[in-house]
Structures are given as structure tokens and as C-alpha cells.
Symmetry: C2
Subunit: 223 residues, 2 copies
């Protein structure tokens, strides 16, 4: 197999994606829209956290949600039902990640006029989505307690591209022998700048702080 | 972006991989080696289950383990320490999956002479590894309880290529409102043939049955 040819083509796709992502960022900046990209492994709690955050922010900011999945639309239905905000579903037809072109088409499908805040729930995958800039202002990466505190060592790029990390399902840390301190150290090895939020959807631990950071970030874009 | 060109190239890579995988299967069959490929999301319990199975089988079958990771070698150290069998670590240099060429080079690094049984722990990723035939006789797919019983709906290909599915961390099913019956139904929609094992590393639930299936499969190859 000609590995080099494959790598070259991949780099070509990535560099074109990065160029397009810059244009999307400029367009969103002109429209004063804050675009949040949420990434994690499958089943880390993206949909639950997004539902919670949307319900805290939707009265102050006009919000839309993009749900990306390989197949099914269970999450889009859940979010639309539980938040009432406009939600679009995108299927990647088997692909493991979203290009910014796919993100942009979803943003257009959502309708950008009047929106302040768009959340994209990316494909559940701790590898590939990290390679593709979606055009988002902010990458929120989730690490769920049952996955283990060693994951930043094993999936470096995802934690390197994180603007912030939310450790989810913190209420079960004891059951899974998960050390928040060790997780923070491992995240810091990959990304010393990213703030880390220890959160739980069960008891709402850490969600206020995360909400405050998002409010500040949305306000920054609106200025 | 020229999507069609990308798809064509991907198909070319996949079809070459499939051709090479057939050759690997033939070589392993001639050597009477049973090659097990273990796939799942990050943190679903692959290393723990592999350690358990190796310790149950290593006295009857000469066993080797291949640990694939993007980075780090914590799992290879864990398995070597806890089982004492020969273990090799392969790093994919950022790639989200293993090609069969990489699997074959790892098999050669392990040294095939005299081996009965090789386990490959694939990259933690519920998407990409399913696309690449590693040359294995058997694909064991793990679904951990905290990920949720809806994952087979959202990550179809992984469950389609499974020879068997092990639901892991079953001891916490109640905490996560996980229905084993619903999981079985969702797996069956993707793959009616695959047997499903409900397992827990904490209380050893389901491991005897899985061990028995692997023993029968190893014996089948040795015949």
C-alpha cells in the first residue's frame, strides 16, 4: 500500500478544510454568532449536557442545535423535545467526523438570521473529529468518568484542540476509581491552558461554572 | 472540496486492505492461529476483559497480545504485568484505525511460531476500526453500560461486523438506567446472528460463557 500517497491526500483535505473553516469563522464573526463544537467518545453525555446548557441559556440568547450522527436521529428528537429550540440533524453517511463544509451546510439549514448561539454535537469519536476544524469558536471536549482518567494520554489530539474540558458523570467517580486530580494532570500534559470542569448531570455539580464561561464567551462575540 | 475523489480513494484503500486481509487469514489458517480483534469506544473495558480472558486461556493455549494505541503504552504494560504473556505495542501515529498491514507487522513482531491464540486490542473508536478488516478470525465488540443501550442504533457498522458483542460493566446497569433487553434488541437490529454476552469484571458475570465460546473457536482453528 502506498502510505505516502494516502497521507498527502489527507493533508490536502485537511488544509482545504482549514482554509474553509477560516472563512466560516469570519462569516460567523460578522453575524456575531457564537458557535460551540462539543466532542467526546460515544455515550459520554453530550446530549444530556447540551440539553442542560441550552435550557439555561435559551431565554437570554437565541439558540440553535446541530446534531451530527452516522445514523439515527434519537438525539435530535430528545433535544428538540426537551428544549424547544430549533434543531437540525445531519447524517454523515458512515463518516467518522464532520468537515466544516458539512457544519456550514447545517448552519444554513438551521437559518443563521437572528441567532446568537449554535451548539454542534459532533460524532461520538475521540479521534477523528479533532482533526477537522468545524469553524467553531470553541471546542468543548467531554471525558466521562467511566472511560477512565488515563484517556488524555491515549487520545492526545482531542485534548490538545480543546478550549475547555468537562469531566462528566462525576457522581460515579468512586464506583469507577476515577481521580479528578489525575485527570486534570493528564489533561494538563496535553493542554495546560484548557480549563477543566468536573460536572454531573445528576446533581448539577460544575454546570454553573461552565454556564458562566459560555455566557462570557457569547458576550465576547456579541461585542 | 471534491468529495467524490475522496470517496474513490478511500474505497481503493479499503479494497486493497480487504485483499491483504484475505492473505493474512490464509497465512494464519495455515499456522492454525486464532486471531481475535477486540473493538469498542475508549474506556469500555477492553484491557480489563483481555487480561481476564488471557489469564483463563494462557495455560491451555500459547497466547500473545497486540496493543494498538495512538499514543502511550500504559495498556501494554498492564497486560504484560498482569498476564505474563508476550505483548507488543503498536502506535498508529495519530491514525484512528489499524490497517491489516499494521496488524500483520505486529503479528510478525510478536513472532508467530508456536502461538495458538493472538488478541489484538484495537484503537478505542466505535467508527473507523470497523471499516478495516484486520485479518482476524473473530471480531469481539464491547459496549459498556455507561455508554447507553442506544449505541447500536448510532454506530451501525461496528455492530454489523461483530462476531459477538460483550456488554461490559453490567454491575452498574441500574445506576445508568441501562436495559440489557433493549441493548440486545438494538444489537439484533444491526446483526441478528451475533451472540450477546452480558458481562462484569467486578463479579465475573458472563465471562465463563465468553471463555467457552473462545475455547471452541480456538479448537475449531486448530483442527
Amino acid at each position: 500500500m502506498n502510505i505516502f500517497k494516502t497521507v498527502e491526500i489527507k493533508e490536502d483535505i485537511l488544509s482545504r478544510n482549514n482554509e474553509q473553516a477560516k472563512q466560516i469563522k469570519a462569516d460567523l464573526k460578522a453575524k456575531k454568532i457564537f458557535f460551540l463544537n462539543v466532542m467526546s467518545s460515544p455515550g459520554s453525555g453530550k446530549t444530556t449536557l447540551i440539553t442542560n446548557l441550552v435550557n439555561r441559556l435559551k431565554n437570554d440568547y437565541k439558540t440553535g442545535v446541530i446534531e451530527a450522527d452516522i445514523d439515527s436521529d434519537v438525539d435530535a428528537h430528545t433535544i428538540a423535545e426537551k428544549t424547544g429550540v430549533k434543531t437540525v440533524q445531519i447524517h454523515t453517511a458512515g463518516a467518522c467526523h464532520l468537515t466544516c463544509q458539512m457544519a456550514w451546510e447545517s448552519l444554513l439549514a438551521l437559518g443563521l438570521e437572528g441567532l446568537d448561539f449554535v451548539i454542534l454535537e459532533n460524532i461520538g469519536n475521540l479521534v477523528c473529529p479533532a482533526e477537522f476544524d468545524t469553524g467553531a469558536n470553541f471546542n468543548l471536549v467531554l471525558l466521562s468518568v467511566p472511560e477512565g482518567d488515563d484517556k488524555p494520554l491515549k487520545y492526545p489530539l482531542m485534548f490538545e484542540v480543546a478550549s475547555a474540558v468537562a469531566v462528566t458523570k462525576a457522581d460515579v467517580a468512586e464506583v469507577f476509581d476515577f481521580s479528578a486530580e489525575q485527570a486534570k494532570r493528564n489533561i494538563s500534559l496535553r493542554n495546560p491552558q484548557a480549563p477543566v470542569f468536573i460536572t454531573s448531570a445528576v446533581n448539577n455539580e460544575g454546570i454553573d461554572r461552565l454556564e458562566a464561561l459560555l455566557r462570557a464567551s457569547i458576550e465576547e462575540v456579541k461585542r
